[in-house]
């Protein structure tokens, strides 16, 4: 389906007909999407529909059973995950994955290390990672006050922000966020949404996986609905949310709760 806007921006990252099977489990089975430059795309889908697995496939953390992955129109399904990160694709994980012995600052520096350059022997002697990238990430995510805390001392919402900050510190071109606001309160969610929109205005291409439908509608330029590893529908957020198939697959329960 085409977006109603004319002259859609070029696709930075594109996945076509992606399938990831674990033995008999078809976690993803023929799903795909396009991330257009400087836009926010959202994936909506019930738990277990394969969103996280799709993200893992796109970031080369799990092998594809089938499908095509393209970055700037160039296929990358043999590119190692680390190289993909060097090409500007950053992500967060659904579960908080911070290094427990490092401070918040160091966890964020781990992201910025990517841009410090110099592999091999040189990295041995390099102390600090691009400090500007780190400071910018801290400032944007509002983590200044806890920079020297350790992950174990943070609230869940705070820990999630560190995850986002670490990804931002890599100075990505494409940012993939897997349920970044899970466990956050309403105010914190709004902050994340605002941050994403600000980043979009600066030209960052983003993919958001989230359950909070109003937030998705507010934040995303485009939604793709997923169910049982397959694509249900895609398009403008308001339309996708109104789509009967989506209502049934995903919003049905929520709708009844409201009624």
């Amino acid at each position: 389906m085409n977006t109603p806007e004319d002259a859609a921006p070029p696709a930075v990252l594109e996945a076509q007909d992606v399938a990831v099977h674990y033995g008999g489990v078809k976690a993803v089975d023929g799903f795909g999407l396009k991330l257009e430059a400087g836009r926010i795309c959202g994936i909506l889908g019930p738990n277990g529909s394969g969103k996280s697995t799709f993200l893992a496939a796109v970031t080369r953390l799990v092998p594809l059973t089938r499908g095509r992955l393209m970055l700037d129109g160039e296929e990358y399904h043999n590119t190692p995950a680390a190289s993909l990160a060097h090409r500007g694709v950053a992500r967060t994980f659904q579960t908080v994955r911070l290094l427990p012995d490092l401070t918040v600052l160091e966890n964020i520096q781990l992201g910025a290390d990517l841009r410090a350059g110099g592999g091999g022997v040189k990295q041995w002697f390099r102390r600090t990672a691009v400090p500007e990238a780190v400071e910018e990430a801290i400032e944007r995510t509002g983590l200044g006050a806890v920079r020297s805390a350790r992950p174990g001392e943070l609230s869940y919402g705070m820990a999630r922000r560190v995850e986002i900050a670490r990804a931002l510190a890599t100075r990505p071109r494409v940012l993939l966020l897997d349920e970044p606001t899970a466990g956050m309160n309403q105010a914190e969610r709004r902050e994340v949404s605002q941050l994403m929109q600000k980043l979009r205005d600066e030209g960052l291409t983003q993919l958001l996986v989230e359950h909070d439908v109003p937030m998705m509608v507010d934040t995303c330029d485009r939604l793709v609905a997923m169910k049982s590893g397959e694509l249900v529908t895609e398009g403008a957020p308001a339309e996708v949310v109104r789509d009967p198939a989506v209502q049934e697959a995903y919003l049905g329960k929520r709708g009844r709760n409201h009624a």
Binding site: P80, A82, A85, T95, Q109, L110, V146, G183, H211
Partner: protein, 318 residues
């Protein structure tokens, strides 16, 4: 002082050799690589240095260097060979590497001197030079524990998948660990062979696996300082324990078991925790406002954060 030094010269030398040996096991372990290839490299280094010295009269550092090069190449090849293994299986495979080398040493004919080994590897290697080498190694390793390299090594150990997602080439890092381990192990072996002027299959066998592991379990597995503590303790303990005779082994066993159970971070960890506590008492730690439910235990092996609410699903792709 000088009298004491002379009387204990062998123990002083052994301490530094053991330090390098312990570091050769510890370095890969810091990246989560459970490899004993450093012990095999110790054997390679010892025999190479002895052979080059006896047969070709190479200067000490050239002879040791030759062994290091061979061990680094062997380490790299071994890394390729065992790249699919992890954890316990990797440990077993690398112990096999060490055992195979012992067999080669026994059956190496006149090159390795068979079961008797080699004698008369007389060189100009001085204890001061050994200490200098150790100092350089310690400085390099200390650098690898801080800053960018320190973070990257931590990431490779704690969460390899996260590590690659921030651009760390985990496989390459792990291969490097094998190569560095080979260099350290061979350096230790080479120096020991030249200091003792002799090497035999017994000197490079399985007992070293136990010794190296003991040193870093008791000392601490995360930092060079832990390896130093361990090598000091287990080089000098036999001296102290001479009175108890055959019970030495039992005392060893008890020490290892107690530290493994009660202070898994090793004696270094105990010292660091104590230091942190003192600092905490003397002033509030900056930041750290909202505190999630969790243990008060400072340091230690804090588990990764758990989702707090039920509607936060745990990741399927971990």
């Amino acid at each position: 002082m000088s009298y004491w030094y002379d009387a204990h010269l062998i123990l002083i030398q052994s301490t530094f050799v053991s330090l390098l040996l312990a570091l050769s096991i510890q370095f890969p372990l810091r990246m989560g690589v459970f490899s004993f290839a450093g012990i095999g490299s110790y054997g390679i280094g010892a025999y190479a240095a002895a052979i080059m010295t006896i047969r070709y009269s190479w200067p000490a550092f050239a002879a040791i260097g030759a062994g290091m090069v061979v061990a680094m190449v062997a380490g790299y090849l071994l890394a390729l060979l065992v790249s699919r293994l992890d954890g316990l299986y990797l440990g077993m495979a690398t112990i096999a590497f060490t055992l195979i080398l012992t067999v080669v040493a026994i059956n190496g004919g006149s090159l390795t001197g068979g079961a008797q080994g080699l004698y008369g590897a007389i060189s100009t290697l001085q204890t001061g030079q050994v200490i200098l080498v150790c100092a350089v190694v310690v400085v390099l390793l200390a650098l690898s524990e801080r800053g960018r390299m320190g973070r990257r090594i931590d990431a490779v150990r704690e969460d390899p998948e996260l590590a690659v997602s921030v651009g760390i080439r985990v496989i390459r890092m792990r291969r490097m660990a094998f190569v560095v381990s080979g260099a350290l192990g061979a350096c230790a072996g080479g120096m020991n062979a030249l200091l003792r002027t002799t090497v035999s299959p017994d000197d490079v066998g399985f007992s070293l696996v136990v010794l190296a592991l003991t040193m870093i379990i008791v000392g601490g597995s995360r930092s060079w300082a832990g390896a130093l503590i361990g090598s000091v303790i287990f080089t000098w303990l036999p001296q102290v324990l001479q009175a108890v005779g055959d019970w030495q082994t039992v005392v060893y066993g008890v020490i290892v078991a107690l530290t493994a159970v009660y202070v898994p971070s090793g004696l270094l960890g105990v010292a660091q925790n104590g230091y942190r506590r003192m600092r905490r008492r003397s002033g509030p730690v900056a930041g750290a406002t909202e505190k999630a439910t969790g243990s008060e235990e400072p340091g230690g092996d804090s588990a990764p954060l758990e989702p707090l609410s039920e509607d936060v699903p745990t990741g399927g792709t971990r």
